[in-house]
Each structure stands twice: as C-alpha cells, then as structure tokens.
Subunit: 759 residues, 2 copies
C-alpha cells in the first residue's frame, strides 16, 4: 500500500464538494481546493483558489474591523468540455473508473474517469495539476482525452474564470454564512491571450493571471480560437478525435498580485515566458518536495493508514504556510476553505508553529514577524480598551485589526497575547536566534507584558492579582475569572519579557538603548512584571492536588455528557444553547491539559495525572483543538492505548470528517496537532529548561518512528523503536546541543555523534 | 398654566418624528403615534399605528422563536392635501403658527398651523383626532381648512393607507434594525367605500378597517370621488373654498381584527353604522377619561411642570394598557414605537404593574393572565433547557416564546421568573383576590418554584445553594453567579409558592385536589422549596454591612465613571464595548437598590443607606429602569433633594429625551416608575406584611400631593401635605383595611373614616 497517496474511489456524487478540501494543493502563495476542473452545471463558476493575504470585506459585523474575508480568486484551471455536442458532466450514469489521487510525495493531483455520452461514445479523461513550490507564481495542468470506441467531436474550452463567488453558501454547513458574495471586478479578460486582471473589492488588490495552453492532437498541435466572455478569458479548441487516439492539453499559468509589486501583469507574462516546459517545471517542483520531505517527514513502522494520515496532515500544513511573506500568517483553515474567513487565531502559535519551529524555523520566524508587523494595531486595540501595551486581536485578517463579530467575546479571549509570547520564546529556545529576538521579539515581549500589567487587577480583599473577565481555551467558559491557562501563560509572558530585556541589554546594548528609548521603557518595569508574575492567582485545589480551570469550575453544575452529546455534533448545535455552557462543568476543548503540555516543568507527574483524570471525562471535544493535546499528555503519562486513540481522532479528523465541517476547509491547528501528538507525545519532545527533552512513548501499534529536528542550527535524526530512543546529530550547530534523552543528559557537538537510550 | 396639555410649539422641522412618540394616542386596543396626517414627501406612507397583539415576523435572529415584531398597521388617519395644485407639506418657509397639543384630560390630539403656498395663498388648517376609550374599535378625526386671504382650490384625499412599512429604519437611532420591512398583504382597498382588509404576514392576522368621511363646505356637504389605488382606499374631494370660509372634514373609523372574531369587516361596518356622530362619540370618550382620571390621577400642589410631567407619564401608561385582552400584555414601548419589537420583559411586572395594581387592578389581573396563558410555552422552554417547571421568556411577543436574539443572554436573565411571581403576590396582597390566585396564580407559583428548584445547585464545597450563570437587573453584569437580586427574589418565589399551596389547600380543597393532580404535585415539594429558599446564598459583606450585587462585584476593577460616561450616551455606545463591562464595578441600572425597594422588610435602614451610598456612584443609569428606583429609595431614606432630582430625571425622561431614543417609543417601565417615585417614594407606599404602609417624604418643592388607591376592594384617598399624611376611606372593602401610616397602625372599615398623622 502506498502511504504517499490519498485516493478517492469511487466518486462521491452526492457530496462531492465535501472532499474537495482534502485534495487541496498549495504552495503557501496559493491554495487550490481539489475541485473538478470541468464546469459542472450545479456549481458553475465556483472554483476555490485563495491567495495568501488577499482579503475582501465580509458580511459579518466585526467588533472593530471591516470583517475581512479571504477572497475566492479567478479559477485558472477552468475547463469546459463537450463530447459530440454534449456537456461532459459528473453524473453517476455517465461515469466509470473514477479515481482522484493526491500524490503527497510529489504535490500533484490526478483525476481520471471514463465518461459515456448519451449516444454511447466513451472517452477516457485524465486531469493532472500542481502548484509549483519551486516558483510560487506558476502552476501546471495537463488534460488527456482518449476516444475509446469510436471517433468523437470534442469541444474544449480552457481559460481563467473570474465569475467565481465566495463558496461559503455552498461549503459552510450546517450554517450558511454568506450568499455567494462576489469580490472581483474584472478589468480585462481576453481576447488575444488567456489573461485576466481583476481587482478585489473594496480594498483593491489587483490580481493578474496569464496562461499558455497548448493542445496536441494526433493530427498535430492546435491553436484555439478566442472564446472570451465577460469575466472569462478563454480559448476554444474544436477537433475530431479518432478512436483509440489521445489528445493532450498542457497549460502553464502564472499569477501575481499588486502585493508582489507594480504591474503584476507584466510580471506574470515575464514569468510565463521564462517558465520552460511542463515536464521541467514539474520536475523542479518535485525536487523541492523531496527536499521538504527529507526535513519534515515522520516515518513509521506501523499501520500504513497511520503513516498516510500523518503524512496527509504534514503535507497540508507545509503546503499552506506563507513562509515567503511575513505580511500574512496561516489561517485556521489555511488556504483550503473559507470558514473563519481566512483569519488567524491563537492556535497558529500554539498548534501549528511548533512543527515549523522544529522543521522549518524560517517559517516560524516569518509568522512571528507577522505579529511584529501588526503591533501598531495591537497597541491601538489596547489603548481603545483602556489598556497599555499591545493587545493582539483574537481574529486577524491581514492587518491585525480585531475581526471577531460583535458580542462573541474577543475582549475575553486574551490568552492569545501570551500565546504569541510563548511561541516566540519557544522559537528562540529552539533556534538560539538572538538577532530575531532583539530585532522583533523583545518589542513584542515588552508590549505584551505591559498589556498584562494593565489588564491585571490587585484585589485588596483577597490580596491576589486577578485577571478577570476572560475566556480560556475552553470556549464553553463564556466568561470566567482567573482562568488558569491565561494567568499562568501571562506569568510566563511577563518572565520572558523580563529575561529578554536583561539578555538584550547585555548582548546588544546599543540596540537596546534605541529600543528602550523608542518604547519609553522605564527601569522599574521588569521588577513590576516579576512581581505580577509571582502574584497572579493560580486556581488550585490543595485537597486534590488539582489545578483548576478557573475560580468557579469546581462550583459549577456537573454536566451529563451522555445527554449533552449523544452524537458527533457539538453540544451547542445539538442540545443546549451556547449560553447554557456557563452553568456547567464542561470543557469544550482541552484547557488545563493543553497548559500542562506547554509548561510541563511547572507540574508534577501526579498533578498531570490528576488533571487528565479530572478533565478528560468533562471534555466534549467540540473543537479540533482537543484531540492532540489529549494524545500528547496521555502519551507522556504512559497511557499509550488512550494516547493512540486520541492520535487517531486527531490524524483522521479531516480524512474522516469527524467535526462534520471539513467541507469548509481543513482544520489547520489539528494538522499541527498530529505532528505534536507524534513528536511531542510519542517521542516526548519538549524544551524550556535549556535542554531538548525526548523520550519513548510509542503506541503498541507502532514498531518504530523516525524524524528529523532542527535544533539550534543543527539537525538531529531521531529514531524510536520500542523502548529505545536513538538520536543522531546529522549536522552540528554553532554550539554543542544539550539534550535530555529518556531522562539522560547528553551533549552532542559533532556530526555523526549519536546516543541511544537505554544504551 | 394648563397642566393637562402637552404643547409643541414651534414645529421641530428637522427632527419632527423625534417627538411623534410623545403625542401618541391610544386605547389599549390601538396605539397611534402623533404623526402628521397629511402625507409628507420624505416620509410617505409611514404612519405608526399598532394593534395590541398583532405581530409579524421580524428580521432579528431569535434564540428560539421566529422573532415576532409589532406590525405597523394601515394608517386610517391618512390625508393628502393640495392647495391651488400645490402639495401642502410641512416646511419651515411655508408654516406659521404651528401648534401640536395633546390634551391629556380628554385624550385628544390637536394640531394647527397656517400654511402659505408658493403663490402666496394662505390657509389655516386644524387637525383633531382621538381613539375612543369608550368603544375601542372606533376613532374620530376632524380636519378644518380655512382660506385666509383669497379663494383657493382645495384637493383633499382621505383614506386608509395600507402601504405602510415598519418604522424601525426611520425611528431607531442610532442603530437601524430593519429596513422598512412590510408585513401587510392587501386583500381589498376601495373603491366603493373607504374600506381596507389586510392580512399580516406570515401569521395572517386579518385587519379590517372601514371609515365614513363627510366633508362640509360652505356650499353644503360634498361627496368625494373614488381615488383608490393599490393598498390605498381613499376618496377625493375637490372644491373651491372662498376667502374667510372654512371647510370641515369629519370621519369616523372602525377597525377589527380576526383576533376579535370571525368576519372583522362585518363587525367594523356594523360598529361604524351604529357609531352615531362625531361629537357624541367624542363626548362618551371624554366621559370615560374623566372616570379614569378620577381613579388614577396624582394631584400636586407644586410646580406645574412636575404636575404635567407626572400626568403625561400616567396618561401614556393608561392609554396603552390592553386591559380588554389577556392574550397580550404591555410591551416595553407600549404601542408608541417599534423598539424591542413590541415585546414584554420583566419590567412590565416590576415597573408598570404596581400602578395598575393600586389603581386599576383588573388591568393587572389581565396582564397576569397573559403569563398564565403562556405557561405551556414557559414549561417547554424550561424542558428544552433541562430544567423543570416554567421558565418564562425574557422577551415575549404574543405567544410567550423566547424572542431574544441569539447570544444576548436570555438564558441568564431568569430573574423575570421570580418577578412575575412577585407581581402576582403583590396583586393578591393588594386585592385579596383569592379566586384569581387559586384559578391562575397557584399554578404559576408552583411551576416557577419548580423551575428555581431545578435551576439551583448545591455546592458541596461551599455548602450553599447557588444560582449560577445569571444576569441580574444590572445588564452590564454579562454573566455572574449568585446575583443577590435573583437569589433573593427566587427565595421569595419559593415562599410564595409554599404559602399559596397551603392557603388553597385550606380555602379551596376541591379545586386544589384537581390542580395538584393535574400538576403532578408531590407532597414533599413545599418543604424542599422552603429549604432551598433558606439555603440560597445571599452575597453580603459583613464588615461593611453591605449587600453585594453578586459574588464577584467587590473583586472587580473600579470603574472611572467620568471617563466611561462623559456624555448622555450609554457607556457601551460611547467608550467601551459591552463585553468590557464584566471587568468593572459598574452597574448599568439599579440592581440592589431595586431589590431593596421591592422587599423593604428584608433590610435594615442602615443596610439600605449603605447600599445606596455604595451603588449610586457606580451606577451609569444607562437604562430607563434606573432613575425611579433611586428616587424611591432616596425618598424613603429621607434624602429628599436627591429623590426629587431622580424623580425629575424619571418624569422627564421621554419629555426631554434623556435616553436619546424616545423617537423609537416611550419608555413604559419609566412611565410606571414615575408613579412609583411619587407614590412608593414620596408617599412611602409598600406592602408585604399584611398592612399597607404610607409615609410622608415629599420633596421641598411640593406643598401637597393627593391620589387615590384601590386596596382590598376599597378606595382610599391619600393626601400628603408637608409632614402630614391623611388617609380617607372613600369606599370600604369587604373587610377592614389594615394600614400603617407614618409608623402608626390603623384600621379603616367605614366609608368616610379617615386618619391623619401626625394627628
């Protein structure tokens, strides 16, 4: 069994769009859902192609912003196909031998089927496409049509379809949000070339796309005729195809936006002119994928299903990361769908970044720079709400403005501020990238520490520092006070700020002086941060040695999970309104458990076990952010069967559509969660005390697991096999690497040096 | 100065609609805003006439219901007037001598002005109208047109305009809710008679309206010609009016709906036929008003402004009460505007009912019957949310379904359940109406007690009964636990249920048996209610002898009221989002203060003084439910100047548009609050221990105050003059009345018996 391919066979006629998100291709610049290229009568002009950073104005009423939404851009893979005058449409009676194959090793999507016309004529059709990861502005497509039994008349239109509208109406189930809103204004479409220039509304990003299509028939190459209409730049190829013969269309598409610089159409044309041929472009693309996989893959000796599912999660994560552009980050659904409007939330930092930090640190750096770029907006947001420093938006489009709808509680969900600081610290610990820290990080840490200082309140009655009116990761909280996750992460944030200031002052005094002056830094600040970090109340039940989600959790009403969640639907979609959640001891998604995964050095194993035993049965898993933290902690606590069960819920979440909304896009936090379950759970990875911890917690079903890690400029190769952990230093970093492998302290400094525990 | 009339002079051209709500006429069946009869080009076909109980489907997304909204029904006062071919429109350059007068004693609206055409011709116009309180299905209108200088050609159209749409777009400022939604489907309009039949959509209430219009000109009566168009039944009168002559149009309109029985048009025609003449109808109407005023007026010896303002509040309250129909209740804006969609909230029971209970107890009985009628829906609501008994909707249209928008917290605002029980108990105490109690009240009390039992939770850690996840009267709470108001009122509700069951068992055993069987009553229930009532935690700070709004209020962040509320706008409209309120010690509207007014026997004077001193500076008064409770408590505590200040804020709230949204309808709770400020504040009225308490707390500006009270079947006449209180029994009840006048216990049993304190 090939663990590198995702195969759909037969066609799911009734819910075809339901699996489009799984077959998404991307290169960080573009994401392209696995839609069928040939036009379909019921879903005309839909496509599903997104450009990182291209947002339009959405319909929801945002708290502050204009509610930006990711724009569905012109479909440059568009095709219309007629055989003997009959439209080739995807219908059960006409199709046979359907197969859609996502080749994850090569980053290529392939689809084939045999179609029988109403006159009995059969043609075999095959589509292949890719978005180049070698040149982010290029895509290739190949279409082969074979007449099986007899001669047929073919009419093939290929072009760029700018009639596309938003997909939300179609893809967001069960609650449609927007009725096919359209963002595009076509400036030019055809007729001489297949070229389209559109502007998005209202902000006016210009998208320019050009393509070259060549049709080879048995009788030789054919030049198409212009077939442009409004909003559609297309060419028409009409030809007779003899029985048993094949015609092949090859096209290359280039695309630029005004975000890439002036005159994007000139750039697209130039790129297209220099693009070379299809095979060459595809080969370069495949070489790049091979390099990426070398660094990022996790190899299993275990069930092929698990291997493929794991690769699927990593593949989709890699494809969508806009590493090339720090003006954008990675949305909750990546570039695979429109749910959450392409926005970025806290889970980017907590669920996705660890994978990149340890495999492609430049990607993490880019996404943290996005947070640095949006500091001005975060400062404005804090000021508007009477706070100091920087308050990051719960939901960001491209500009960092709070895009959460009115009344949805963005004011409360402030742990995102500390989550960003945490990811920054993790990046710095994993890379020792002082330059990045000093250039971008310290400013973020100072401004977020200032935020926490102003957002906390000293309670003279209880004599504690409180953070009131928050919502923790458990979104069924509604509002609570002193959420443990928030308070503890805020405390970390304050400490990171203090330590980073001290470090920069020491190592880069001149730059520090400039920064301190620019930020109006006061020498008394670090001590105040430390005092606050130490004074913040942490909810804890001494009798049970139990850390408590917030100061009311233990007083709330026990929740009947059987009654509340009889099926896969979320509690609030099925049995009770969201508002009711505040009454109950119910956790939508892991909260304390996630916290303990993030800061394992703060808790004893007994405390983790108690917390897991307490919260797990109270957790509804009504979010995709819940399975992987449970897998990680269960693995670390040695509950391997339970860890494996949660790993599978996580790894198959989209493949099996466990949350019932994969149609609207893949769950990107969960994709990162799959890596975390494997590497941070089964391989026990964590850092935080100057060492990189690893340890063997493989599930019974897996004989071995292998992967690479980037760590402080070096590359480690890790293999777990049964109870053994082997770590090899493939390439060293500038300094010796301190590891703690299965409890044993190790230093690795030379290439080829390795350690195995138990020895 | 006439204290019976509200006069607008001159015309407020720029914000004319802003005062329409003040000039509303009504008879409980219909409410008719004070709009100009003659069509205006900028606000064509708007009107503003509402029929109690006639709801359509609104645009907001309700939590459970279809979001009912009060329907703007056909405008039967519609007129179009042309002079020498020129439309008579309300414009500054054309108008002089404008005067709009609401005669509150007679219930008549009068408007007059002189209009000068572009050709210089002047006409004097006068409109008079009333909605009969003698026959609720009849209205009268008279229009006089006088040519001042020279002969003019008049074209007068009169009719019923069914083109009306909802006013929300126009009247709800600053946030428009709905874009002129239209609810009506015209079945018939003219041409033979001025008759209109419309159906509301989608529920299909049929409204039938018929009218008779007679024009008397100096040359004799004129019969108009048909001028019906779609949705408009009208007749046209064209005539030449000689200089110094007057023409007079008189029309009577009759209206019925399918809620009144079959064939409403036949009923309307019959009523119209038997209606008699305009003068007779108006005289009967005025006689009725005189009777009403005799029972309900409060007479002052003090500033005329205060007298008029007080009468305005009572007049509007009286006009809108649907005493004739227990299938509806009295909405938050009565029938004077469309804000809150005509819905009924808790303030009906707590702010409006006391006035009716002591002046028109049948009106209270009718509105409590509405709550009894909607018990089935309240039971369903409780069951849907996993509770027992009956959970009344926070926002009810006509059917008791929860109409609150999603996410607005109806789940939390459950004190309404106890508020209804409280109003019921107050009614019973004030009327001794056992029959009503046994027939309707006990069932409500049992079902609400059951609700509280299931909504409370025993906390084994704190060993208290908690009511978690609620919102008290202070709507800036967002969500709190153990709101004092909610817990204490729930405790009362539980006690009332226990006592009512015991009483009915004793006095009406057979009926009790039937009721107990029907409700599945268990003998163990009353003891459980009592135990819960005694166990519910009441937030209280012993050190300060301070009752506390909820269990976190004292721990929250002090609020800078100067920064948060620099102007008349609400905090959340001006400076911070609603979500932020949960962080602060801020009270939107009186909460503990209102509670102490309701249950004065539960608190010591010291506790009341402390509470007032603590909460008053923390109260934003961002609701119309805030001034009157402060007036009442300040008066009772002897802070007469402060009480008077709050009384004036209350009494002028609509007249001076203090809340900036009177355009969308009058604040009916506050209308009732004005009565409470005067009678429960300045005259110190309360009950609750079997006696009726009165006491003199007149403000310095008032020499004397006189009013009547209905009490246990008798009528009391109360006069306060300086420190003296005089109570006269005008007509006795079936049993002697126990009073406590200025601390002195008194019994009155015979007509004419009176008491004065100090003697």
């Amino acid at each position: 069994m090939d663990t590198w391919t995702l195969i759909e066979q037969p066609c799911r006629f009734n819910r075809r769009r339901g699996t489009d998100a799984l077959f998404t291709l991307g290169n960080g610049y573009l994401g392209c859902r696995g839609f069928f290229e040939e036009e379909q009568e019921d879903v005309e002009a839909l496509g599903g192609i997104y450009v990182a950073g291209v947002f339009g104005r959405g319909a929801l009423k945002a708290w502050k912003g204009m509610h930006r939404e990711l724009v569905n851009t012109p479909n440059f893979f568009w095709v219309s196909l007629r055989v003997n005058g009959e439209a080739l449409l995807c219908r059960p009676k006409r199709m046979a031998g359907y197969r859609r194959v996502l080749d994850m090793r090569r980053g290529v999507l392939d689809r084939r089927f045999t179609w029988t016309g109403s006159d009995g004529a059969r043609v075999r059709v095959r589509f292949e496409r890719f978005l180049s990861v070698d040149d982010l502005h290029l895509a290739g497509q190949r279409i082969e049509i074979e007449a099986l039994d007899r001669d047929v008349e073919i009419e093939l239109l290929v072009g760029i379809d700018a009639r596309v509208t938003q997909l939300n109406r179609v893809t967001t189930s069960p609650r449609p949000i927007q009725p096919g809103r359209r963002h595009l204004r076509t400036l030019r479409a055809g007729p001489d070339e297949i070229e389209t220039v559109v502007d998005t509304l209202p902000k006016g990003v210009r998208l320019a796309e050009a393509q070259r299509a060549v049709l080879e028939t048995p009788a030789g190459p054919l030049r198409g005729a212009d077939a442009a209409t409004t909003d559609l730049a297309a060419r028409r190829f009409c030809f007779r195809l003899a029985a048993a013969k094949t015609a092949r269309l090859t096209r290359l598409a280039a695309f630029y936006t005004s975000r890439d610089g002036a005159d994007p159409m000139a750039r697209a044309r130039r790129t297209l002119r220099r693009a070379g041929d299809y095979e060459g472009l595809r080969a370069a693309h495949e070489r790049r994928w091979a390099e990426t996989w070398r660094a990022c893959d996790i190899e299993l000796e275990g069930p092929d299903d698990d291997q493929r599912a794991l690769r699927f999660n990593l593949f989709q994560l890699l494809q969508a990361c806009p590493e090339h552009d720090s003006r954008v980050s990675l949305g909750a659904r990546g570039l695979s769908g429109e749910m959450h409007e392409g926005s970025v939330f806290w889970d980017n930092e907590i669920f996705k970044l660890p994978f990149f930090t340890f495999t492609r640190p430049a990607a993490t750096a880019s996404m943290l720079r996005f947070r640095h770029r949006t500091l001005p907006e975060a400062r404005r947001h804090a000021r508007d709400l009477w706070f100091d420093g920087a308050m990051y938006a719960w939901k960001s489009g491209d500009d960092g403005v709070e895009e959460t709808e009115m009344g949805v509680g963005a004011y409360y969900a402030i742990h995102i501020v500390a989550d960003i600081a945490y990811a920054l610290r993790q990046y710095w610990e994993a890379t020792a990238d002082d330059e990045f820290l000093f250039r971008y990080g310290v400013e973020i840490l100072i401004e977020t520490a200032r935020f926490w200082k102003s957002r906390s309140h000293y309670d003279p009655l209880r004599r504690t520092w409180n953070i009131l009116a928050v919502r923790g990761p458990n979104e069924y909280d509604v509002i609570v006070n002193n959420n443990l996750f928030t308070n503890m992460m805020a405390g970390e944030n304050l400490r990171y700020a203090e330590e980073a200031v001290a470090l920069m002052r020491r190592r880069s005094p001149a730059a520090w002086k400039r920064l301190a002056a620019r930020l109006g830094f006061r020498e008394t600040e670090p001590a105040a941060w430390r005092a606050l970090a130490e004074g913040l109340v942490l909810c804890y039940d001494r009798g049970r040695d139990l850390f408590v989600e917030d100061d009311m959790y233990l007083h709330r009403v026990p929740f009947d999970m059987k009654r509340g969640k009889p099926d896969a639907r979320r509690v609030i979609d099925g049995t009770l309104p969201y508002e009711a959640m505040a009454l109950y001891q119910i956790t939508k998604q892991s909260d304390v458990v996630t916290l303990m995964n993030l800061l394992p050095w703060k808790f004893t194993p007994r405390q983790m076990r108690r917390a897991y035993a307490f919260y797990e049965p109270r957790t509804a898993h009504d979010s995709s952010l819940s399975y992987s933290p449970h897998a990680v902690m269960a693995a670390r606590l040695g509950m391997r069967a339970e860890a494996y069960r949660y790993f599978r819920d996580c790894a198959y979440l989209d493949l099996a559509d466990i949350q019932l909304n994969t149609i609207s896009g893949l769950h990107f936090a969960n994709l990162g969660g799959a890596w975390q379950a494997a590497v941070m759970g089964f391989a026990g990875l964590w850092q935080g005390d100057g060492r990189l911890h690893l340890g063997p917690h493989l599930p019974a079903a897996w004989k071995a697991m292998r992967f690479r890690l980037c760590y402080r400029g070096g590359t480690l190769r890790v293999e777990l096999r049964g109870g053994k952990t082997r770590v090899l230093l493939e390439s060293p970093g500038p300094a010796p690497l301190r590891l703690c492998v299965a409890g044993r302290d190790v230093r690795l400094s030379k290439a080829g040096q390795e350690v195995t525990t138990p020895a």
